[in-house]
Assembly symmetry: none
Homo-oligomer: 421 residues x 2
């Protein structure tokens, strides 16, 4: 079964934003065993969108459109899709009520054009949008299924996971099952060389690598008559990957993020956590606190951006800052020691670095970061060199801190058990 993606938006044609929706949808569809031969981007223009949609419906079984479902005049994806599929637009009372509720909960009044979003092609399947006002829509014609999704990723992604995935799974006869093995700490090319033999002789299951910041995900995908048989095919491959990567694998659950894995590790070992962040300025705390239930382990965190804050809040010595500088292993270590005193947590992490563009010197380039991690009094300090801009370096440092935390906690407890023997 073939799928084709059409992303609608002038901002894509003007290059104002990168088309991450296409990458997300393509990856998900591949995982569902759908073959994608074409992707298109077109603007909010009736004539051209009609042309692209007609072509897609002639050559593909499933067409996924994203964007152009907004309340404004220039949003016309739904209107064009309805016309091309030969359906009238009718008011969907269920969606209308949801939109009313959406505004009521914000203490706001919907404006006239919001009701435009409650109209759907007659007989269409309506997909609830829990993160916005535009419902998703599936129109089934004789030759094709046309799926309309809102453009904002925070609306499109949950809707795809919750509503579109089960719909697509029902369409494909053979069952496609995939499992994602998430590896942290190793680069993509390194991971690839360690599995190249598996990639070369792959048939069913297939394996593909995906590079993320500080992580590489390997997706193992098998197709079979039923889920049980597909899982039978996947199992030995996942086992092989586990034997090759061991502890570098932090999860085999596609929904578990690195921060979730680290929080689970803290909870499982009943460890409290705190951090002091300089260049990342809150990003580490922010990522960890995005995990529900984190309140059991994280009580507080500190953004110590200035030298004064490092001294005042963490008690870093003035002489240390003068002699070694704020971005030094010595400062990172004193930061984490200071944390221990004020927060009394089992695990403490400090981050200090030069995110750029300013602040670099001859011997301290942009991207130089020191991260210290203390687990029950045992301190590890690590040096990193990142190659991105300010935002990328801060993101990379945050991921590196999560990976270092995980490594230090695992090492601490493996030593413990070893000692017990």
């Amino acid at each position: 079964m073939t799928v084709e993606l059409i992303c609608v938006g002038t901002e894509l044609l003007l290059g104002n934003i990168v088309n991450t929706n296409a990458a997300y949808l393509a990856e998900k569809c591949a995982g569902l065993g759908l073959t994608c031969y074409f992707q298109s981007v077109v603007g909010d223009n009736e004539e051209r969108l009609t042309m692209v949609l007609n072509t897609a419906m002639e050559r593909s079984d499933i067409i996924i459109l994203s964007g152009g479902l907004g309340p404004t005049e220039d949003d016309l994806t739904k209107e064009v899709a309805a016309k091309v599929c030969g359906k009238k637009l009718v008011m969907d009372e269920h969606s209308k009520k949801r939109i009313e509720k959406f505004f009521a909960q914000r203490g706001k009044e919907p404006t006239e054009n919001n009701w435009k979003q409650a109209k759907v092609p007659k007989g269409a399947i309506v997909l609830d949008n829990d993160n916005g006002t535009a419902p998703g829509i599936i129109v089934e014609t004789k030759n094709a299924k046309v799926i309309l999704l809102p453009g904002p990723p925070n609306e499109l992604i949950p809707m795809f996971e919750e509503s579109v995935t089960p719909y697509l799974q029902k369409l494909t006869k053979e069952v496609i099952v995939s499992q994602t093995v998430k590896i942290c700490g190793a680069g993509e090319s390194e991971v690839e060389t360690r599995v190249i033999d598996l990639i070369d002789k792959q048939t069913n299951p297939t394996i593909a690598t995906y590079a993320k910041t500080g992580e590489v995900h390997i997706r193992v995908t098998a197709s079979a008559e039923n889920e049980k048989d597909a899982n039978k095919l996947i199992k030995p491959m996942v086992k092989e990957l586990k034997s090759r990567f061991g502890n570098e694998i932090y999860t085999t659950d596609v929904n578990t993020t690195l921060e979730k894995a680290v929080v689970d590790l803290l909870i499982a070992n009943n460890l409290t956590f705190t951090c002091a962040e300089s260049c990342t300025g809150g990003m580490l705390a922010a990522r960890l606190i995005n995990v529900p239930g984190v309140s059991d382990v994280i009580k507080s965190g500190y953004v110590t951006y200035s030298n004064k804050a490092k001294r005042k809040i963490l008690g870093v010595k003035k002489t240390t800052l003068q002699k070694y500088g704020a971005v030094s292993p010595q400062t990172a270590e004193e930061m984490v020691k200071g944390l221990k005193l004020i927060a009394k947590s089992d695990v403490a992490v400090s981050i200090t670095g030069i995110a750029g563009p300013d602040g670099a010197t001859e011997e301290k380039p942009v991207g130089l970061v020191y991260i210290a991690c203390m687990v029950k009094g045992n301190i590890t300090v690590k040096e990193y060199h990142f190659q991105g801009n300010r935002a990328k370096n801060r993101e990379a440092a945050t991921s590196a801190a999560l990976i270092l935390m995980r490594t230090c906690i695992l090492e601490y407890f493996s030593k413990m058990t070893f000692g017990k023997k």
Copy 2:
């Protein structure tokens, strides 16, 4: 003059990589005054690539293809383009020498299939590749210019800047200039309603609205013979928008983010800042600290996630937490007062709320957030109701805090000037 982009690569169809080339090329072409109506992604497949290229040549003046110029068998963009344009492939001695040199400089031997990369369609313009072995190619037919570029961004980008840009500049007569007006605090449909008359009668310049979290961006785009005339067309429209939205506009510079505007406001008024975050857990500090030069105004920040942290670090009264709860205007106010004492900053912000999915009660639903902002001792506390998942609610609360900061600072200083009168 119209341009169309065709990105060739199975890795794009599988979602292994995000199509940053398309965004880069689209932005550059728009800046050159070329109108882009279509972008496509297709795999390394002769039949389908031929189909897409033929369609593009029927409807666009310039077609830019990226990818599929590699030395291997499955790279066939050049072969297909030559066939579609009715040109023979011939060995280009100049490119052959450059490939020999490329390998020699790396102490490597070219393999047989590398010579495939030195072949170009007869009569084509050859673009030197200083960062790889595949030369760029421009084929001019009666109806279209077909430009072939290598896929790797580190080869494509320099080649576009050095060779393609000057080529395209010669072709285009008109220039397109756009300016973005960024509005905070109002929703997209509200903004649209307030400019609907302008949208309805728009010709040149055109205006379009883009929704962001807590913001709406209006892009004004004009085309003219030269930049000066285009700016003349844009100016009155931007002036009109300014008169309609006034202080709701935080910038008219496309590169200025909301956090940058807020940091600039702090710097301009020489104000220091600190924050205490509960549900956002570092996100506000993280966003502000992503602005270069922020160290002049932000010294520290606090993540006070637990009640204990709110008491211990900020001195929130136990009775307040018991009587009103952690998520209450009273707690938000005491948090910000506590901040003032420990950080002594001119501006202080506290955020406390229920991000979800847990923690909600009958009278306190998920998405309820209180934000307190203190400017020189004047405290404002605001209640918000967000309706997203945990991540979305935290993101929305962070944007709301930035907007509240901006409002409070502007109000404080307008009162000051008023008082002086």
